[in-house]
């Protein structure tokens, strides 16, 4: 290609980009009594808790219109996944909702297991439930305590962050990692719970309720906090459904949709728990729904730990589940399977499967199309916050800037999941 052609192409692109830029930034308000300020909230603003930008038009302190710009940490996971064997995709899911990565990891494994027709033993299912509920608690703790920070209450945040640290220590004991956990394998868990893990879990289950009660007593009926959040950013159930809300945000609007109850996976039907709902879907309801879900998750963990069945922690699926390393050195079959799995020589069945789990902030879905090869033909992630974040401008318009920040942090938008 000649140099001139390249330049010409670039000019054309730049012109188009400028035209588009003008379209975003300048909604023409020809009212001379009103002077609007354009404010860039983000991409690196401490109150956005992630890298995304909102271009706000402000009339004094009121927000007149808002345009969200996302994609700052887009890493093309769906494209990368088309070149990776199934077991290597777990590391991509880690980096979506990094506040509750075990849910993403195990949700992905369950999708592959559903496609392969592998049944996971009860013990592994219960272990998964424990880890997923721990992840939900840490996700909700971060969201609610950050909401506290945005309303000016820093103490609660530091207080529960100690508890999150303890949860991360349990993760560490179970899988060796803290944030991007890469937990579990296709067919079960990668190892059994160690006695130390059980001990840490039991100790935490004993100490955490006290902390949670204190955290709640700091916020739930706090006059200053309630003035900041009650009736801020409400959304009706109809609007929330139309916007594709799921998870705590939808339940705060009064719709009791929870994937764990409606389409139970990983033995959720064995446990007794309630689905808390709110009434008008405002920031306070979202906060309260998350708090109550933390208690319900604790109930589930207690039941699962008490009734943890004996038995193997992974399915007998040698084609997909890596053999123990000691066996690989001594045993012919183990060596063959190890080689085949690592080199991606085992083909998957042809088909398409949709599986969803209740993620930290909503229905996390995996739509997997397999053409029989070693990698997915197409993998689409249903990322809950990508879908519900588009309601943010509508919720923020008409409020003040400080309210908009509170609404944003109560929606629990995780940049990694938003951009995938």
């Amino acid at each position: 290609m000649a140099v001139n052609d390249t330049l010409e192409g670039t000019h054309h692109i730049i012109e188009e980009a400028r035209e588009q830029q003008d379209k975003i930034l300048l909604p023409m308000h020809n009212d001379f009594n009103q002077e609007l300020t354009t404010l860039n909230l983000g991409p690196t603003h401490p109150a956005t808790h992630g890298i995304f930008q909102n271009i706000l038009q402000m009339d004094g302190e009121r927000i007149v219109s808002g345009v969200p710009t996302i994609g700052y940490i887009h890493r093309a996971f769906e494209k990368i996944a088309e070149r990776r064997p199934f077991y290597q995709i777990t590391t991509l899911t880690d980096r979506m909702n990094y506040c509750s990565s075990p849910i993403n990891n195990l949700g992905w494994h369950m999708t592959v297991e559903k496609m392969l027709g592998v049944t996971v033993p009860k013990r592994a299912q219960y272990m998964r439930v424990i880890m997923m509920e721990l992840a939900r608690i840490s996700d909700h703790l971060i969201c609610n305590s950050i909401l506290g920070v945005d309303t000016g209450a820093f103490t609660g945040f530091l207080y529960v962050f100690q508890e999150r640290e303890k949860i991360y220590e349990i993760y560490e004991e179970v899988c060796g990692a803290r944030l991007t956990t890469n937990m579990g394998r296709v067919g079960g868990m990668e190892r059994d719970f160690t006695p130390v893990a059980i001990e840490k879990l039991r100790a935490w289950l004993k100490s955490f309720p006290t902390v949670m009660k204190e955290f709640e007593s700091m916020f739930n009926r706090n006059r200053i906090f309630m003035d900041r959040v009650v009736n801020v950013g409400p959304i009706s159930a109809e609007k929330a459904l139309s916007y594709g809300f799921t998870g705590p945000n939808l339940r705060a609007a009064g719709v009791d949709y929870d994937v764990r109850v409606m389409n139970p996976y990983s033995s959720y039907e064995d446990f007794e728990f309630d689905v808390p709902v709110g009434t008008n879907g405002d920031t306070y309801d979202r906060f309260m729904v998350r708090n109550e879900e933390i208690w319900q998750s604790l109930r589930i963990i207690n039941q699962a730990l008490d009734r943890l069945p004996e038995g193997p922690y992974h399915a007998d699926a040698p084609h997909y589940y890596l053999p123990p390393k000691q066996e690989v050195y001594k045993n012919m079959e183990a060596l063959i399977y190890h080689f085949k799995i690592v080199m991606g020589e085992i083909d998957a069945p042809v088909g398409e499967v949709y599986h969803s789990v209740e993620g930290g902030n909503g229905e996390l879905g995996f739509y997997l199309v397999s053409d029989g090869g070693r990698t997915p033909y197409r993998l689409h992630f249903r990322r809950p916050c990508f879908i519900y974040y588009q309601a943010y401008p509508e919720m923020a318009v008409g409020t003040t800037l400080s309210d908009a920040i509170v609404i944003l942090s109560s929606m629990n938008v995780i940049a990694g999941e938003l951009d995938a």
């Binding site: 459904l241 398409e352 969803s356 739509y367 990508f386 879908i387 951009d419």
Partner: protein, 186 residues
């Protein structure tokens, strides 16, 4: 399969499977509402009713299913594009997942259309959630949604001049020599 299952006849097993019953009911309702010729390639992979329709019909079908009292598929779970470069005349596709939260029924609808003419009606007038999902499909596959309020790239940079999820674009730069793996074909 347990021994009890083996003794029952296949028909009885089908009749007892609640997913199959539900899917049969949903399919019957689809045929009554929109006519049997509107759907082709009907199958139930992993218990989820899947049907292919045409882009001329898709808007009417999804709007009708949202309004329908009996089935009430009112929740658009997700949509995504797909690319089959070898299907001449039907290279690109859109796949819609619908869900009825009241009855817990899911439906997957597919449409396929040529890559030279990737024009599809928007759903953003039915489901507000479709707005960004369609922008994502445009960004990844270059599907043009007619009637969309703001069809521009959402995740990639605005001056990108190709649609990266199409199969013709390899993940890695094909001219690189340093990553060639002769044995395992990376």
């Amino acid at each position: 399969m347990t021994p009890q299952d083996a003794t029952t006849t296949p028909e009885a097993a089908v009749a007892e499977d609640p997913t199959k019953v539900q899917n049969a009911r949903l399919l019957a309702r689809l045929h009554t509402l929109f006519g049997a010729d509107a759907f082709t390639d009907v199958s139930e992979p992993y218990g989820l009713l899947t049907a292919t329709t045409t882009r001329e019909r898709i808007h009417g079908i999804i709007a009708g299913l949202q309004q329908d009292e009996e089935i009430a598929l009112h929740f658009l779970t997700t949509m995504c594009g797909i690319n089959y470069p070898d299907n001449v005349g039907q290279e690109l596709g859109m796949i819609y997942h619908l869900h009825s939260l009241t009855q817990n029924i899911r439906l997957r609808l597919k449409i396929f259309f040529p890559v030279a003419d990737p024009v599809v009606p928007t759903l953003s007038d039915i489901h507000l959630a479709a707005n960004w999902m369609e922008r994502e499909a445009y960004d990844f596959y270059g599907v043009i949604f007619t009637g969309h309020p703001n069809l521009m790239r959402i995740l990639n940079v605005e001056d990108m001049d190709y649609f990266p999820m199409r199969k013709e674009y390899p993940l890695e730069d094909g001219t690189r020599e340093d990553k060639t793996d002769l044995f395992f074909g990376r």
